[in-house]
Symmetry: D2
Subunit: 306 residues, 4 copies
């Protein structure tokens, strides 16, 4: 069966665009995010073979926020292999309110790399291995073959209002679970969240996840091993969408990683990567229309890992 | 690619059998489980097309325990459709100690159908729809085309020592979340856990999960819809192995449902169902060798949903 | 300084009676409590020397409910001395939602004798030492020198709707922290809660707490030792009024034990015991007017342990 | 009955001194505390009338740490009256691990003024009312009629290692429950903990708590109202000794406030204030010998609020 992906995406965009901004709420904790118009909708995909399709605002850059955790995790797994898991778990985190609770019970070891505490721990590990913000940008640019930048205003706003992240980082530090200075770790973390990319760029950049770890740009070797790529997909499925992971697996059936900027990256293993974007969020903090679009995509293509 | 499954299973059984009983601990909370010899190992699979393969103690019946939750969930989804989810969540449960904690925060609504509280809630719903223990046995017998029985001694022991399950059921009742009498609900629940089946019988019985919901025995219609079958697989992946679900997704990459009797049912969607059994359990309550065997199976066949 | 207690109580009754039933809610979880008219108010006291004063509905019997925990604790301390504290803590319980949470963390050991779990544990210990319901009634009758009875309807209602208490008892049993049969323990517990007494009877019965443990009726020896009497007062202050203990110490400054029947017993060490009753409860489950009356009493007499 | 307090204190010191440093552990989280010799023991008291008694190392200054919370609370109640309680509760905090848990459930409102979060919240309120570190020192000096100083090394060490306090303050800030800059609030808090005083100075400074709020130095008016003084005593009893408050009420029966420097201030309302010091701490973080000495004091004098 061959699917006309361009037609599928256009049909979804046609359905979603009139709804854009009608439901959900744009993240408002920092001004630079709050002023993004809610009425955006875009999506793009790239197949294992390199075919691309897109519709709507697929080329409009947005703040990737927690989607960045996918790439820092990839870097950290590459750098440290299984040693990474001494400081970070691989289990879903249960209830939202558990963030600090669980960190307390588990003595400063975050449950998984996709909750904030886990991503902060990964930033600490990357700094400890000499990784820099510049190198992260370099990786992102290389993956999508276009220059990628931080949004300096977003990074600065995150830093000046990120009290909960300061609380998390200091809490882990109090358990001896951060090696680097709290301010340095959070500077890295706030910058990774402030990367700006479009749907098409993210669909490309995540491409290694549907091609056994191979670089999305042919001839550039592998980003990570096949084994690691499949394991990252597994973590996305069980932990990638905040407290809605069980529901997303149930309703969509694809590994996904979302961000409060309204983007969601999804993977159909061995076939394609997909990115959808619409800024208004549902109660779980995932893009409201993004989730709806992914359900339509899964239903109309029959693509599901289950 | 065709895989010689019989050869694969034999190789795994040859590796595992010498290790059987060497690590882990047999469940000992009731005498009938405690006296099962630790040194058993068996596994069996059945493909979508009906081919079967098995090795080791694949025909020795054991107490299926929580694997039964797979079948009561299937029945309840068939009976109630999406109404089922008013009383039961679909999210992983986080830490083990959370069982009662979460039930308290969530006012008696269990996080998912595979934790004890969730399965008790499902038993309540089934009773409320007129389902009986006899009908459950009838379903199991029909699925594997052989008579299936309860182990009366196990059911009686569960009832006489199941204080924590009595606590859970009374707690849900105190929140108005059980319709039926606590004793009736637990009688059903203790019996479902006391069903005796072999690896081969379970691989057959779960067959509908790899064939779009169709009955494992051709010509007998569908057990559930394709949509429901895929969703049950999703729930197995995110919630099927107690607090190790994230790790199992990461290391094995297949939907699994385990029981403290030492059995684990796994599904390769669209391809096959597999059951492995070895009584000694790891710290998470999953079969120690069973998990190891599933890792080998996934690694040697390359079968993974990711 | 001599205080005209009769005048004080009459003044308080005159202020409170018009307010009776205006604020708060009568406990409604069982019909026999729900149908008690909200508009009752009574109070009575008895000094160390045996002088009595009373006003309002001081002779109307009501369901003493958790006030009974004071007397079963006294019995258990007498029977077991410090061994009692192996199974029961002496610390305030923090938040209401913690009941089961704390029991889980602390492996079935209740935080203190005045939360339900603690009182159930004490009932278990008393049964284990051969104490009976009849002997408890005998003690209560002896303390106030009048026959005291259970309210059979209340006891039966508690038993038929007490799912949360069944949950607590089964949960402790699952940790091996109850020696006796759950049903027997709860039968004792539900009966102690169903004792009917008036304010005057309770002020008399608790008299040993203001007279170094000596029996309220002169010439009958001691109910408990001086050391135990002072320690029971300490437990009342830190744990006697559910989750409002800190506030009660702050605002009233006297050891108190309340019940959902609307009664509150208070102690002025070395001087007097006091009982106030009004059925409508505040959000913490303490008598709304009872608390107000105790604040007036403390303010107008200057009696406070601080 | 008149008690020869000097003889009582000498007897206790004679019993305790040989035990000093034998049990418990000196706080070691900062070097300046860790190097205090464990073998110190001192105690001092001052009666309502101004009589003083002391024994052992009663004049050796030590780091008062959390005992400072008593004085900042007094200041804040004086400044704000009941408005203070909008941001801070008055209930015991339950388990140790609850610090952040409870703060999360209660949306950044600390349970009471004596846990770290509560004292940080009070420091924030004091800053908001224009209070300064210099004024706090001025108050302390005035109360004991001698110049009192901060230990600059301790304050600096607290600041450089106080990750958990940074976590708490940032967490409250994330809930909008701190008005001032986190660094400013913690600078005040770390300094108040670094005040150095001796037993005798603390017994004097706390004197207003046993004399209806009147200044310990006659003729200087009142430190706080009688009502506030009694309420502070109540808070000390229910919340003043970390997670041992129930036990301290039970065993000692006096309002106490302890610090990790090994000091404990106790109050006998209307009669005297007492301070004991010995650096080695028990598992709850209270001075091991200090608690023992207070038990002896209460037992030998019969002084108890119960």
């Amino acid at each position: 069966m061959t699917i006309d992906f361009q037609a599928v995406l256009e049909r979804i965009a046609a359905e979603m665009t009139p709804l854009a901004g009608r439901s959900g709420t744009v993240a408002s904790y920092i001004p630079a995010l709050a002023r993004v118009p809610a009425a955006h909708f875009g999506l793009a995909l790239r197949t294992r073979e390199g075919l691309e399709a897109s519709a709507g605002d697929a080329n409009v850059p947005f703040s990737i926020q927690s989607i960045s955790k996918l790439f820092t995790l990839t870097l950290a797994m590459r750098r440290m292999g299984d040693d990474l898991w001494e400081r970070i778990g691989r289990e879903p985190s249960g209830n939202p309110f558990n963030s600090l609770v669980q960190l307390e019970y588990e003595q400063g070891k975050p449950r998984n790399p996709f909750i904030n505490a886990g991503a902060i721990a990964i930033a600490d590990r990357l700094l400890g291995h000499g990784e820099t913000k510049a190198e992260l940008l370099q990786l992102m640019s290389d993956l999508c073959d276009e220059p990628i930048e931080f949004d300096a205003e977003v990074a600065a706003s995150e830093a000046s209002t990120g009290y909960r992240n300061f609380a998390l980082a200091n809490f882990m530090k109090s358990f001896g679970k951060l090696d680097n200075d709290v301010d340095d770790v959070l500077d890295f973390y706030f910058h990774q969240c402030a990367i700006r990319m479009s749907c098409l760029q993210l669909a490309r950049a995540a491409g290694f996840l549907c091609r056994d770890g191979a670089h999305p740009q042919d001839g550039r070797g592998e980003v990570t091993s096949e084994r690691h790529a499949r394991r990252i997909n597994a973590l996305m499925l069980t932990c990638g969408t905040y407290d809605a992971a069980g529901d997303v697996a149930f309703s969509i059936g694809l590994p996904c990683k979302s961000g409060v900027g309204g983007g969601i990256v999804a993977v159909v293993p061995d076939q394609l990567t997909l990115c959808v974007w619409s800024p208004a969020l549902d109660a779980s903090g995932n893009s409201y229309l993004g989730m709806l679009a992914l359900e339509r995509f899964a239903a109309s293509t029959g693509l599901s890992i289950f």
